[in-house]
């Protein structure tokens, strides 16, 4: 097995009494798509925020590419090659696609402005949204905005890409396109992906391995096939449906 790119050890995050992430350990090997699923409030986004440094853990360690990053501020983690997207698309609405995606290259100090712009054009072509280059993102369709956000996250060619529900709000056809794109990030660009997703079919289809959280705890881990048949997973999801 290849060495883990990201290793989370006994991570716990509390919000005034509520344990959002409870003693979670997981590791992601390089060039893999790791799915992360669980019912609402399972702690997926909090785990994301702890990995990217937006919330502080109460205990536990995070290692990224062999380096202990537990105390590193978010912008240094990003500069070290860890990028993410957000559940609700977060773009700068007055900015064009070009400017938004260029933000993603801020921490590439040796890239000239011209080279940075070329990199943006290349990524947009790859994602199939080249023509939006100089349009204000507020004018773009929702699916296009999603892709612009992904472009901003991958334009600097990070080692690790964290996607928080990238399929939310997309049509079935758009989800299929996304599925193919994620695969190509891994095979063409060597990016490792941690994918939080509510659309179970996408996760099970695209992931190499899946981790399941429930109430902040890790309740199952394995291949998509194993997870699809896991009793605890079914219980967690059915339990949620029963409550709803």
């Amino acid at each position: 097995m290849t060495p883990a790119l990201l290793a989370v050890k006994s991570l716990t995050v509390r919000f005034s009494g509520l344990v959002a992430v409870d003693n979670v350990s997981m590791s992601i090997p390089e060039r893999q798509i790791q799915g992360l699923i669980g019912p609402n409030g399972a702690g997926k986004t909090t785990l994301f925020n702890a990995i990217t440094g937006l919330v502080r853990q109460d205990s536990g360690q995070i290692r990224f590419d062999g380096v202990e990053i537990t105390a590193m501020p978010p912008h240094r983690r990003a500069a070290a090659g860890m990028r993410r997207t957000f559940q609700a698309v977060q773009l700068i609405p007055q900015f064009t696609t070009l400017e938004n995606v260029l933000i993603g290259l801020h921490a590439a100090p040796h890239t000239s402005e011209l080279a940075a712009q070329r990199a943006v054009v290349e990524v947009l072509e790859f994602l199939g949204i080249g023509p939006t280059l100089l349009r204000p993102v507020a004018e773009l369709s929702f699916a296009e905005q999603r892709l612009v956000e992904i472009a901003r996250a991958i334009v600097a060619r990070p080692q690790l890409l964290l996607l928080d529900e990238p399929a939310a709000g997309l049509s079935a056809r758009e989800v299929a396109t996304l599925d193919a794109l994620l695969r190509r990030f891994v095979t063409d660009w060597g990016i490792t992906i941690l994918l939080v997703e509510h659309v179970l079919s996408l996760v099970l289809e695209v992931s190499d391995a899946v981790t399941v959280l429930d109430n902040g705890r890790l309740i199952a881990e394995g291949s998509p096939r194993q997870i699809a048949n896991d009793k605890r997973v079914k219980a967690a999801y059915l339990g949620e449906e029963a409550h709803a």
Binding site: T52, H75, H106, A116, L134
Partner: protein
């Protein structure tokens, strides 16, 4: 869009524009020339405040005081210590930048209202120092500034001062464009719009804020130094709260997040009061009313309106983006936008 697309035509247009600006003193009397000089000085100051307030969204109230620091650095060094104006000018910018960035360092972690309060107190403190540190500043008596000399050219009178101010404004405008069309300029907007996205894209919030405070103060300092040269005589009261209101009005009325806006604001805010000179009381009330109306009805200022009707070109924060525009008008006609992929 009315922007000229051919790079050659743009170059010619720019040349004509600058040649016309250079010939302005041929058509003015001393008073009109003085007003034009003030417009240029306020353009620099407006650009500086637009960095901080328009682009980076920091509501700091120290800009007038920093302008005062620049003006007094020049006046005191030139008049009392005999330092050459050409040394005083850049030094004024640097002193203001140091005071502005270090002095507001504790304010960096504060959110809007607190930042506003702290910087306002800081500004009052500076004016107080200018009034009371009489050994250096001569207090309320004010300091006069003599005409500087450059290789035998004596910069005396408004028409000569014009060329100094014009050169500086052109240089500062060019520098501002370079900064804004770089990663730093985009980072200013990123920290205003979304600190979380900024951080997760590798932008250090603290470093970016420090940079914008320093750059903005540098512009205020240079503007202050040129202000002293233009007026020839300065007093501490010139840099009080009313001065700050003028700066704010320039940015808000002209247009936040637009360099054109800062220049348009400087033109409006300098010429209108001169026209309304006989109605002092009316003038201050008009400022308040106009400022309020603009904030409510024209949040992007005069520049925003002109851009909407295609009378001003777009401002995209990416250097040389027009070349991309030319290349992309070709691919933009591809019909397949929804599917997109090939």
């Amino acid at each position: 869009m009315t922007a000229i697309r051919s790079p050659w035509l743009r170059a010619v247009a720019a040349l004509v524009f600058w040649a016309a600006l250079c010939m302005v003193p041929l058509a003015t009397d001393s008073y009109l020339q003085y007003v034009i000089n003030l417009v240029l000085v306020y353009a620099i100051i407006g650009i500086g405040l637009n960095f901080l307030m328009g682009y980076a969204g920091q509501f700091a109230f120290a800009h007038a005081a920093l302008m005062g620091i620049g003006a007094y650095t020049t006046a005191v060094l030139a008049t009392r210590f005999g330092v050459s104006y050409w040394v005083c000018l850049p030094l004024s910018g640097i002193v203001a930048a140091v005071v502005g960035s270090v002095g507001t360092l504790p304010a960096m972690r504060m959110k809007r209202v607190y930042l506003a309060l702290v910087t306002l107190a800081f500004a009052e403190l500076i004016v107080w120092v200018l009034i009371n540190w009489k050994q250096v500043t001569l207090g309320t008596d004010g300091v006069s500034i003599g005409a500087p000399e450059l290789f035998g050219w004596r910069v005396k009178g408004d028409k000569n001062v014009y060329y100094v101010v014009l050169t500086c404004t052109a240089a500062m405008y060019w520098l501002a464009r370079r900064i804004l069309e770089s990663r730093l300029g985009r980072a200013f907007v990123a920290i205003r719009e979304n600190e979380i996205v900024a951080q997760c894209s590798g932008i250090s919030i603290a470093r970016t804020k420090f940079a914008v405070f320093a750059i903005s103060a540098f512009y205020a300092g240079i503007g202050g130094s040129l202000y002293a040269l233009t007026l020839g005589f300065i007093v501490p009261e010139s840099f009080n709260l009313f001065q700050l209101v003028i700066h704010f009005s320039i940015v808000v009325l002209g247009g936040m997040m637009s360099l054109y806006g800062a220049v348009i604001g400087a033109v409006l805010l300098t010429t209108l009061p001169e026209l309304l000179r006989d109605f002092q009381a009316l003038q201050e009330m008009t400022y308040g009313a106009v400022l309020l109306a603009v904030i409510v009805f024209l949040p992007s200022g005069v520049a925003g309106v002109l851009k909407r009707y295609g009378l001003l070109p777009r401002e995209v924060l990416a250097r040389g983006w027009r070349a991309l525009e030319r290349n992309h008008t070709a691919s933009a006609v591809l019909p397949d936008r929804a599917g997109g992929r090939r």
